[in-house]
Symmetry: C2
């Protein structure tokens, strides 16, 4: 998925606290040098994941130093498993390990509580 925020600049806001139950997938990564087709595939994954039942949203940011954090939100573990097993996504994951990522960590976690704050 893209390193760019889901929301366009000027309309940026955090995704909300969804109604329980739901899961987060934290993907923190450092890229290799160059694009190597990453951008195009990332855009395609952004499209594809939206079609998945149980997908709630995702948000991303990257430091100038190169650490990227993408957090994806899904209704349940089955939705995460289904997304992992989609053919195009599997191919992208494979290419990610072969070309795009120097290193990454994935944490899959079940949300127990969440809340939001917005200035009045």
């Amino acid at each position: 998925m893209s390193d760019r925020s889901v929301a366009p600049v000027g309309a940026v806001e955090p995704l909300p606290a969804f109604e329980l139950p739901y899961y987060v997938v934290v993907f923190s990564s450092v890229r290799t040098e160059g694009d190597r087709g990453y951008g195009e595939t990332s855009d395609r994954m952004d499209e594809l994941v939206k079609e998945m039942p149980g997908y709630l949203g995702h948000e991303s940011a990257r430091t100038p130093g190169g650490l990227g954090i993408t957090v994806s939100y899904f209704r349940d573990i089955d939705a995460i498993e289904e997304w992992r097993s989609v053919g195009e996504h599997r191919a992208a994951q494979k290419q990610g390990r072969a070309e795009w990522y120097d290193r990454y960590t994935v944490h899959v976690a079940k949300v127990e509580r969440s809340h939001g704050f917005a200035r009045g």
Copy 2:
């Protein structure tokens, strides 16, 4: 906690997949304009949290558009509760709502699985 990556530029890498059990706290936010003492308090919180039993680490990134994502890792829910209740941290949270954040969302989640990848 700071919007800067924990690791200095040049040594940037994702935090590892910790041994289970552990929790993640995802904090996604949009700041108000200006610093207003945020940077100093953020640095102080970075110091303080490291003293908390059960604290494993945290990593942060912010988009040019202003969406910040900080993911903190703790051994258990008690460690999260203890950190939430530290006096200086409570004061910082209060000032965050009063001055520093336009909006934010917090998700507290128990990690069920995790793994890492590093180029050989």
